[in-house]
Symmetry: C2
Subunit: 464 residues, 2 copies
């Protein structure tokens, strides 16, 4: 493999003034690939995090325990530096939640409060429901039909390998309550933003805006949404009672946890690989994003095991409070604004455990051949070359607009939204061979980028 | 088909003094098979029951609504008689339930109270856990190791088409709390009697016995049981806090709901097909046993649509309170003890929605050829002939010891215990084509048995 790639490099057009990767770099890449594909480190990291810490909602004691866990683990790994960067995070608590049909077909519903939702008034809230197939239908509705009711948005999420079914429906989670309140609704019942056929409700953050009445917002499991739809086909007046006991504890302090392997010759240039340490509170945050924590931690571990240091600094960032609005990501961006020009490239693992099937990028056109060669190194792992319009993953998505190159290591997310943000996001959903492959890909990506001879800037800026 | 079967009948040994089924009976069987395989009646019945009533725990208002629903539906179908037979049933209420690890890895657990469990003391119960791989291991344990702890039984259920993995582990649900209390335990945490990999806990009835301290008993979801086992591998002292708020409301009245198509020439002989109307409270009782209700109701509906009445009386029994100990079945047995000799044969559908792949029996050896011919009629539906040691299904299992012949129409239960007794037992888990086939099989079974010329008694008595 090494020899044929070297031959390939030599065969490139002369206009490439330097090969992106030296012979020595490629030789180490071979060693890293072999080592990583024998390593269970990523799986062991997520096993430890999800077992010993479990769910870790921003601002909670569990979140603090997760930070302590990460710091101790990073220190034990032998990073050249480990530090915590404080982040002010909202601390919201789920509390008790109950919803039931009261008339005409009394029975309980499986729901979950959306993150950030207010509580119901004491004694709960009872009202009829009105169904809309989509958020757009709600937005087009006559307020007279909505006033005083629960809005039920029954949108369906489609399953795709790349998760592109999520975007069109998650809008309703973010701003459905505002849209409903603007029409006079008393609450929002959202069909879960999920591909699961099981009776789990899918949480996730929602938003209020100034000047619009805050109303409580919950997600229904898919089977419960189907049940409501069947009931509405039988009777137009379906009464629901909702009790939510959510609490807003204001602001707490959490931390971005950062470990670095200092670069041997270009230490001030940063290759950033990240994941988020926080999770929703009902599962144990295994796929979201314990897997990402395992993948980027294992990548660093594999590189630390080499005798040779990378030329650039490898920075592993475990972000705080991604789930409630990229809070750690924005704090990182602001704190490091003076050195973002030194960020060679950034990528985040936050889409489950993999496997990774494609590598996308956002780099200067002149650097695309480096990505072609990078992908050649990943080809034995089943990775293909993708497009050059990547956003890099949630927490690093705030960086390209500031000129930072990013890569997107695309994970197979076919089943991701069966588990995401539900109680069912637990360790058993992670396939050891999938997370092993993903960690191997991140290992090679980090190593090759930290040693690449190619200028990646200026990048094509994303549309805003 | 009709002609070739008639030929087959004629080809049988002369020792068979009469063909089990007349030409006319077989001709109607052909019509019924065709009609039933076009009918969605069974699916529509379970859809109505699970949507309009939902869960129906014995003794509750929902249970009473289910009885009213069944009576109204039977009356609308045109049965020759419809009646309710009162049954005294225990009324137990689940109430609030919460369990969490308190030390050293604080996090919530997904549990459900086992049916009949007592509540915890005010303020809950906190103790260390001790794990046993099986009930037998607990029974062999030194009481000194168990005293003051929660017993955690981590038995695993194996998946089989015929559900035979259930029996070996469900014993621990029934008597695990007694076995644990006898060793001095403060509570029972049972790995769910389930094949599901999802985070649902599986309820079901448990028992206390006089003279043994009652302790609270709950089931853990599979992923939570795995989590406890991982924790115990890290630390021997794992503390759990349990709060259960179950309530024993004493005895309430429910009803066996009975519909009959009176026989044309042997009206005092009964062919009984049954299912149970009650369900656990967390799902909507779709597979257990809304499906059975749909199947036997549809079978009667298909036969009612014939111009011709069967020779024997077809009795459809929707039993009360199967889930808490075959209460309706025992009441039926006792109330009808003087006419059990007139019960030609009985069968119950209580193993999901099918399809049915085999027909077992418990009849006199001399009647086996009738079952061979019955199975010939079912062969186009994919049903094979089985054994002659059937117990007939839960509610009719009390009858063979009293001499009543039974049949077991074996359903494919490969996935049944993924949903059974969990919140996930909802309508969407029923495949319309599976329940259609099952209803067609019950239709032909009921028709052919109600018109058979064969004596089925005396039966081989079951061992007790
Ligand atoms: Zn995430
Ligand atoms: Zn998330
Ligand atoms: Zn049942
Ligand atoms: Zn049952």
């Amino acid at each position: 493999m090494k020899r044929s790639l070297a031959a390939l490099v030599l065969a490139l057009p002369l206009s490439l003034t330097a090969a992106p990767f030296s012979e020595l770099t490629l030789s180490h890449a071979d060693n890293l690939r072999q080592h990583a594909m024998q390593s269970d480190h990523a799986y062991r990291v997520v096993e430890s995090l999800t077992t010993e810490i479990g769910p870790r909602l921003p601002g909670t004691h569990a979140d603090q325990r997760a930070v302590d866990w990460a710091k101790a683990r990073f220190e034990a790994m032998g990073f050249d530096s480990v530090r915590l960067e404080p982040v002010e995070v909202p601390h919201w608590e789920r509390g008790f939640a109950d919803a039931r049909i009261t008339l005409p077909f009394p029975q309980p519903l499986v729901i979950t409060a959306l993150g950030n939702s207010i509580a119901t008034p004491d004694g709960g809230l009872e009202a009829a429901i009105i169904r809309f197939a989509t958020l757009a239908d709600l937005e087009a509705a006559d307020p007279a039909a909505v006033k005083g009711k629960f809005v039920f948005i029954d949108h369906k999420m489609a399953r795709f390998k790349d998760g592109r079914g999520y975007g069109p429906v998650v809008k309703a989670r973010g701003r459905g309550a505002v849209a409903a309140a603007q029409k006079g609704a008393v609450g929002l019942l959202l069909r879960s933003v999920s591909t699961s056929g099981h009776r789990f409700a899918h949480t996730g953050v929602m938003r209020y805006v100034d000047g619009v009445t805050k109303i409580p917002a919950v997600a229904l499991s898919g089977p419960d949404a189907d049940q409501l739809t069947r009931m509405l086909a039988l009777q137009s007046d379906i009464q629901v009672k909702l009790e939510l006991d959510t609490l807003d504890h204001g602001v707490a302090t959490s931390y971005n946890v950062i470990g670095e392997i200092h670069g041997s010759s270009k230490a001030d240039e940063i290759v950033l690989i990240g994941a988020h340490l926080d999770s929703w509170d009902e599962g144990t945050g295994a796929l979201d994003d314990g897997a990402g924590v395992g993948i980027v931690t294992a990548a660093a571990q594999h590189i630390l095991a080499l005798e040779r240091r990378p030329q650039r600094t490898l920075r592993v960032v475990l972000y705080a409070a991604e789930e409630i609005g990229l809070i750690g990501a924005k704090a990182y961006r602001d704190r490091h604004k003076d050195t973002l020009d030194n960020h060679y490239i950034a990528a985040e693992a936050d889409f489950g455990a993999g496997p990774i099937y494609r590598i996308d990028s956002r780099v200067n056109d002149s650097a695309l051949s480096a990505f072609t060669l990078l992908t050649e190194q990943l080809a034995p792992l089943g990775v293909e070359r993708g497009h050059n319009a990547s956003w890099g993953g949630p927490d690093v998505s705030v960086l390209p607009v500031l000129g930072v190159p990013v890569a997107g290591l695309a994970m197979d997310g076919t089943d991701y939204f069966d588990y995401h943000h539900t109680p069912d996001d637990t360790l058993d959903k992670i396939k050891p061979e999938a997370i092993q492959q993903s960690a191997a890909v991140y290992t090679l990506f980090a190593w090759l980028m930290a040693n690449a001879e190619t200028e990646l800037r200026p990048i094509p800026l994303p549309s805003q």
